[in-house]
């Protein structure tokens, strides 16, 4: 066991864990942040996607000892009670079916939106397909995922005006 200080969703956590424990299980079992899901354990399905310093990562293969930045999970995506535009769009477009993969989908999409906003552009279908290629949805909600990402992107860019991001 070793001691780690992790920043997760803006909070500092002092945790004791085995160095080889994937971030996924630290989040779920130790910090009780269960929005990040286990799907395969081999970085194939994307259900475990989180951000480390804004970059989408598969937390199921990321040992806690290798976490080198601030972690954001689905629980930390909203700004207080204000939902992220992706979350609003997900509800508006009625995207989920079983819902299990959706946190991972949203986290991958959120990293894409951040990247596109920095370039002052909107994502194309191809951009979405590339950014979300690592996220399985067995229920087959891909059509609505694309639509919701497009809807959210324009709101996200507009919301970013004047924030200096």
């Amino acid at each position: 066991m070793a001691k780690y200080t992790l920043e997760v969703n803006g909070n500092q956590h002092h945790v004791e864990a085995r160095p080889d424990m994937p971030l996924l299980w630290l989040l779920r079992d130790k910090l009780k942040l269960t929005g990040t899901k286990y799907g395969c354990g081999v970085a194939q399905c994307g259900a475990c996607t989180v951000h480390v310093d804004g970059v989408a990562m598969r937390s199921c293969v990321l040992p806690v000892s290798a976490v080198s930045g601030a972690v954001t999970t689905i629980e930390g995506l909203a700004q207080g009670s204000e939902l992220h535009p992706l979350q609003t769009a997900w509800i508006e477009h009625d995207v989920p079916q079983c819902g299990y993969c959706q946190a991972g989908q949203i986290m991958s999409a959120a990293a894409l939106l951040e990247q596109k906003r920095a370039q002052d552009s909107l994502p194309s279908d191809e951009d979405i397909d590339t950014a979300l290629a690592g996220n399985y949805c067995r229920c087959g909600t891909y059509t609505r995922i694309r639509a919701a990402v497009h809807t959210a992107a324009s709101f996200y860019n507009a919301a970013g005006q004047g924030e200096g991001q």
Binding site: D29, T36, Y38, Q87, Q97, Q102, G140
Partner: protein
Amino acid sequence: MKPGMNRRTWLKSTALFGGGLLLELTVPAGVLAEEPDALVKSADLNFYVQIDPSGQITIYAPNPEMGQGVTTSLPMIIAEEMGARWDDVVVQAAPVDSSRFGLQGSGGSFSIPRRFDEMRRMGASAREMLVGAAALLMEVDRQTLQARESTVVHTSGRSMTFGQLATVAAQQPVPEPEFLSFKDPRAYTIIGTRVSGVDNLVVATGLSNFGIDVDVPDMRYATYTRCPRIGGVALGFNEAEIKGLPGITHAFIVAPDERSGKASMGFLDGLAVLRGGVAIVGEDTWSVMDAKNKLRVKWDESSASADEWTRMVSRAREIAAAGSGELRMDSGQVDAQLANPDNRTKESFYQFPYVAHICMEPMNCTAHYIKGKNGGADGLEIWMGSQFPAQVKEIAGNMLGLKPENVKVNLLRMGGGFGRRAIHDFAAEAMAIARQVDFPVKLTWTRTDDIHNDFFRAGGFENMQGAVTPEGKLAAWDQHYIGFERLGRPVIGSGLRGNELPMVAFANSRIRQAMIKIDTPCGAWRAPGSNTNAFVEQSFIHELAELAGRDHLEFLLELMGEPRWIKEGDIAALNTGRAADVIKLAGEKAAWGKSMPAGSGMGLAFYFCHAAHVAEIAEVSVDAQQNFHVDKVTVAVDVGPIVNKSGAINQVQGSVVDGLSTMALQQITMRNGEIEQDNFHQYPVMRIGATPQIDVHFIQSDNPPTGLGEPALPPLAPAVANAIYAATGTRIRTMPLSEAGFKLV
């Protein structure tokens, strides 16, 4: 239900603490205990609605949610009949309680058809009590009142809100079911609209509670390891090493137990037997999964499976060549038509693989065995997602000898079901582990466990022969099914029912069926039977249309013949008129017959199952390297009136994606009883980039509303296979397409 028993006596209303209306339909427990069959029949009258004086309307959703949207659609029906405003409704998942909610099951696309009338009655009953209260308080005739938008309005324009009426409404007599009247569907304001799923907020914020997310005080974590060869039994393992690993507190052998397999639902009987294995318990999921990787078990494989897929294929070929099997249907004229030199004939051998359910949430179950204090009975508390939670209590009774009243099942959202969560072998494992320890334990399967321990969609083979006349009409249809049997009966979904197309509408048919014995467990997989039979039948109809030089759509319509309901009044029977209507609609919307660029093609398929008539037209492009992309799928559906338009479209689009993913990419094989695919790198799922445009069209006929979780899946595979033929001239007779050298892009 007992003859002569008045349902009204079960309908109670109770004033809530603080005032409010609680409408409850209750089946006396005695009826359930005495007559197990009554469980299913009485389930059509069990529900409750609650109105708070603040105006909030709480509606319980009785059926387990696995993504099919019943948590939203069933309460919509109640809200509609009540005259509630949807924004005032809060939906709560109902607790597992068969005495109130009847059979709380999700499967077979039956939630809507089984519950629609019950939901309407619940809504209408609540509405009548609210109107009665308004008549009393406003001192007017109830005929002059109308419930709408969560208020009861008088012809004068005076009105009272449901919240204002709630307390008095609770004291109103419960209306006789036979005197209830229902809204004219043309006046619907909720049913048929697009309503976003009631759980979407918690899903999108990561706060939804799936079975795998359960956290209870003092809980520990577990893995379970079975023999890689199905049916092997653990004799010993590296116990000292495992127990010495960090975070591990317990490790022990669990003996097999047949008792957990006993099931009163016939099709599940014998399936959920506890397989012997090794349990590892520890302080977190990672520790027990890591220890599982280091586990070395000595197995007794004397009665383990030796199934081999390649051997099944060669055996099926032999059976097809010999034409052997049980004769299930025979017009007597098939051979004559096949031998008639004027006719053109065709023989084709089709093959489809075993596939796994791969719910995105791997199977898991949390169990707490509580020893009775002071001589009291032992009890069990369970937390899990399940399609048929009553089964869990049954397993606890059979395996642990616990009485149903001492077993509490906390039903949680399922991260996918597709038939897998109808079988609770993983719950039996969790119970067996919990029995050995004195704290709650959460068993989580690895993805590899989830694939290896599946109850697979059975593979199978069909040798097809057909003849067409010189005029291009179908003259003979001969279908030789080669499937699988286990436990002395065909496995779920294997074989023909005899009500498939074209046999059901075409006189000169023959069916033979042969079964190969296997040990590999099989179960219900989204649209069992239909999801493979559609591929074979609808592809072969296209082959015969081609042989006859006919347009496929026209040939298919001709097969339907005159519009008729094959069995009047039976929703499970094909209606050829409704079939023709969806085929024509799909053709019209997709511009069937339009010219397509080189390397592109259109394919059509129709299928009837789960009381639904569905036609699909796929448009595909194939390049020289046999990379194929499905550009567009046009779907025409008749399931009667649509309850939630948004949910319905989602189910259809999802079925198309799931069908494509499965037909293109997925195959389970076994070698000496071991499943050869370990994880998604060997068993891939379609990714977002391959998603076609999917246009959905509903024919909202006057027929009773039926379910949509399954029936849009079966026609997808033949529509795509037929389109690939149109694009390339290559006929696909084997799934998955990756085996035939076609790569989905």
